[in-house]
């Protein structure tokens, strides 16, 4: 493919995606702006499975730079939230995307997006439990 063709093709693909990307950016800003960070710690219990589920659920709804999730996760640990819950939260933050699901569905296929997000959510809990279990052995 010639360079001019490559540029035109890429520009068209980017142009088609722009409305969805803009909508997702606006939506993520809305969710992050409305939800205060203190809400997160109030939502956890002292149950391994339940906490990892809740951690995964919150991480799935929120999106953004992983740095933010590390900071929140670190603070949650300091407040006595279990490592398994925090791990689930960290992993879900970057692997599951409820907010960007519409964009993913449009660009990669509805079935693909739904399957990927559901499995990522379930794997988040599994990853958290495996990671914490390995750490407890080491």
């Amino acid at each position: 493919m010639e360079l001019k063709q490559a540029i035109t093709k890429s520009a068209k693909a980017m142009y088609r995606s722009l409305p969805v990307i803009a909508a997702v950016i606006l939506l993520v800003s809305l969710v992050n702006g409305v939800l205060p960070k203190t809400v997160y710690s109030a939502l956890f219990f002292k149950n391994m499975l339940l906490d990892s589920f809740i951690g995964s659920l919150i991480g799935s709804i929120l999106a953004g730079n992983p740095i933010t999730s590390y900071i929140i996760g670190g603070e949650l640990l300091k407040q006595g939230i279990s490592l398994v819950a925090v791990t689930a939260f960290l992993v879900a933050w970057v692997t599951v995307g409820v907010v960007q699901l519409p964009a993913e569905a449009v660009l990669l296929g509805k079935r693909f997006a739904i399957t990927r997000n559901i499995t990522a959510f379930l794997f988040t809990i599994i990853v958290a439990i495996i990671t914490v279990s390995i750490l407890s052995i080491l």
Partner: protein, 168 residues
């Protein structure tokens, strides 16, 4: 979903979100200040990344032919395909949705869904951010989590492909 339907969905989605903003602006305008602050931060982050993604898309379209892609990440791809998906995901930077246009392009060229899913999962592993993760959670935690996630990404790729391509 056809291309025109995709375009319209994107526009409707954008209009729906803008409508929510307008409703908030009318009934509770003070809420918009922190939202716009976050929005500006996000735009500052995502615009350079979108530019990088655009350049990468051009490079992929220019250098990588559909035939090569099909060999590495297509029906007959083996270990190399997994490695490319894992390393590509790890090395990719920025917000996830900035990558959708490029992945959409690759998908159209015949790249398997398993590799796209694995690529997306491995975006969680960020070498540049590892020092921060180590700072908060320790070296051992970071190592174990990283290895577990890379292994799990392969299983996720397989499952996603199996279900996303299953005939209804």
């Amino acid at each position: 979903m056809r291309k025109t339907e995709q375009n319209y969905f994107g526009l409707y989605f954008l209009l729906a979100v803008i409508t929510v903003y307008i409703i908030i602006a009318i009934f509770k305008p003070t809420v918009l200040t922190p939202i716009f602050k976050f929005l500006i931060l996000m735009l500052k982050r995502i615009i350079p990344i979108l530019f990088v993604v655009f350049v990468l898309m051009i490079l992929v379209n220019y250098f990588v032919s559909p035939k090569n892609l099909l060999n590495y990440l297509g029906k007959n791809a083996g270990m190399k395909g997994w490695l490319i998906a894992i390393i590509g995901g790890i090395l990719s930077t920025g917000l996830i949705y900035a990558w959708y246009p490029m992945l959409n392009d690759l998908q159209k060229q015949g790249v398997r869904n398993r590799f796209i899913a694995t690529f997306l999962y491995n975006r969680a592993v960020k070498p540049a951010l590892l020092p921060l993760l180590i700072f908060y959670f320790g070296l051992m935690y970071t190592l174990v989590l990283t290895v577990v996630m890379v292994v799990v990404s392969i299983f996720q790729g397989i499952i996603v492909e199996k279900f996303s391509e299953a005939k209804t």
